[in-house]
Amino acid sequence: MTPKLDEVAENPFGFHECFLMPMPLGKKVVNLRELLESLREIDESVLFYHLIQSRLAMGYPLVEYPNDFALWAANALQDSKLAEKLSSFDPFEYQNLMLVRQAVVDILEEYLWDLHVVPWARPGFEFHFCQASVVVMHSLISARTLKEFCGALTQVGLDSIYYHFFEARWRLGELKSDDFSFWIETNFGLPELVTAIRDLDVYFYSLKEVRETLAGLIHQHLGEICDHPG
């Protein structure tokens, strides 16, 4: 057995669970220009919901668009070109939500600039703004070793993966870092594993895939099958 798997961490990893309650605002837009104008004004929590949190609220199977704006462009405006642009945009490349907002606004403004006709949503397919309230709870599940960590990954809900892997990027203020790689780095070193985790193109992973991929990466780097609780 690789020694690292049973090496005890100085600080155990305490898994949190995260319960998200979407809160619709009762405010909608019917065309791309209205979306652009609203995006300049809406609360950052609304932007955060539609770009990041909605993957926890409702993850569609095999949907190629990773955020609500891209999905709306494709399904409601039936504008594939815009959907592609909004999909390629990665909010994790920006340091804060103010910059994220500016980036989305820039995409929409540039796109609208060259259009002769403003794209409208089909009736019933308007964009409805949401934000969320969040309850975060200690799960009582923790890991002292990497072996325990692998086991715990399968015991916690997908919301826990979301909290530590996605929401952490904003909480820690370091968009390339997440709770899992931070814990491994500070307790075990393992720079190659840490880099591999941070290099994941997370924007395109479902929460379930993130869970499987993490276990796979630990297995790959430490040579131990990571499928049983420690």
């Binding site: 619709p24 605002l25 009762g26 909608k28 409702m58 569609y60 703004f129 949401c130 015991q155 919301d159």
Partner: protein, 407 residues
């Protein structure tokens, strides 16, 4: 008795464990649900399983049903139709009767609660009389209120404004209200009589009893005989399909005690189906869950061609059974059916007919769609997720001014 642990093989142990951990923070809270019918319709079904499970988790949960006379249910049906966008005429006498029946019911209720969840408009006016009996009042709207009739909504808005929060099934239904609005999607119980696995023998026995011979592909729509479910449109679609492909149609619906329009719509459907031996119209009693289960499992394709829909639990049930579903592109059906992935959305009888033909000729696509639908329901529309949302809602109501609560 079914316990929460019985759901672990279906949703995963971690999901059930989470519910227990979350409920630890709410031990002993008194949670009252109020609606207007004990049987029939999605709300009564949800409450019939949610209440025992919430009690198992340590919340003192009760379910109260208001009583009313036919005139009361005529008014509330008019509310229902108006909220779903139809033009209705409400007279002052009707509104007074609605208020009077609520006041009479209020006199029967002596419970006290930490949180009361009032389902739909029928019992909404109870808050006027009972406000001090609960710490927090939450209005739960199950209806598609994306384009409500203004007169109806104006009247109800004044009542709903008194609540501490509202809950809707879709963000499209949220309104301009002076309190927080939340989104909780409905759900189904995979272990209930309506959704549990059935053996081939059980399915055959039900088909035999109902007089359905499965000698052709079977298309089924299960829903109350209600104009918003468009059963006549389904018959039109079926007749279009039949020009090209042999198949059978079963329209089966229950009755709810709070729906006075049912018999009239049923008569229209029977008239439309007259002279067509391959269409069977079945009026099922509200507790015919086993029969509905068997019909859905026997179906090759399930249709839910609604023109308005709060959520469409019959769609969820069909998806859970791994069936390809064709639904009207309205309300919560849009949320559940993703074209070409978890089902098909249609806008007309012609569209419905076309998709039925498509699926009849592409059984492999129908199978894949059904499998994807089942997994989608497993992740989002089973009762464990619904219970989690209730618990989260209660924690949020304990901390009404906070958007991030760390326990």
């Amino acid at each position: 008795m079914i316990t929460l642990d019985d759901y672990a093989p279906i949703v995963g142990k971690e999901v059930v464990g989470q519910l227990h951990r979350l409920a630890e923070h709410l031990q002993g809270r008194r949670f009252v649900h109020i609606n207007s019918t004990a049987v029939g319709g999605g709300v009564a079904e949800i409450l019939s399983w949610a209440v025992p499970l919430l009690n198992q988790l340590g919340l003192k949960t009760t379910w109260e049903v208001i009583m009313g006379d036919p005139a009361f249910f005529d008014v509330t049906k008019a509310f229902h139709n108006g909220l779903q966008g139809f033009k209705v005429h409400l007279t002052p006498t009707m509104l007074e009767h609605y208020q009077k029946i609520n006041q009479e019911n209020a006199r029967r209720f002596s419970w006290e609660a930490d949180i009361v969840l009032v389902h739909d408009p029928q019992p909404a006016f109870l808050i006027e009389s009972l406000r001090p009996q609960a710490r927090r009042w939450v209005w739960r709207c199950h209806v598609d209120v994306s384009r409500p009739n203004l007169a109806v909504w104006r009247f109800l808005r004044e009542i709903v404004k008194q609540y501490d929060a509202s809950v809707f099934s879709m963000s499209q239904f949220a309104q301009n209200l002076p309190h927080p609005q939340y989104l909780i999607r409905p759900s189904i119980d995979p272990l209930s009589e309506k959704n549990r696995d059935l053996t081939e023998e059980e399915i055959k026995a039900v088909l035999h009893r109902l007089g359905i011979k499965k000698d052709k592909p079977l298309i089924v729509q299960i829903s109350r005989f209600d104009s918003f479910k468009d059963p006549v449109g389904v018959i039109q679609a079926f007749r279009l399909v039949r020009r090209h492909t042999p198949c059978k149609l079963v329209l089966a619906g229950g009755e709810a005690t709070d729906d006075p329009e049912g018999p009239e719509i049923l008569a229209q459907v029977q008239e439309a189906a007259r002279g067509e031996p391959d269409i069977q119209v079945l009026l099922l009693p509200p507790d015919a869950h086993h029969e509905v289960n068997a019909l859905q499992r026997a179906a090759d394709i399930i249709v839910q061609k609604s023109t308005r829909e709060g959520f469409g639990l019959t769609v969820t049930e069909a998806m859970w059974k791994g069936k390809p579903v064709i639904g009207g592109a309205v309300g919560g059906i849009v949320l559940q059916l993703r074209d070409y992935h978890t089902g098909f959305l249609v806008h007309s009888p012609e569209g419905c007919a076309f998709r039925i033909r498509y699926l009849l000729h592409r059984p492999e696509m129908a199978r894949r769609m059904g499998q994807m639908a089942r997994e989608f329901v497993r992740n989002h529309f089973l009762i464990t997720r619904h219970i989690r949302d209730y618990l989260t809602l209660m924690i949020l109501q304990d901390n009404p001014d906070s958007r991030l609560i760390e326990l």
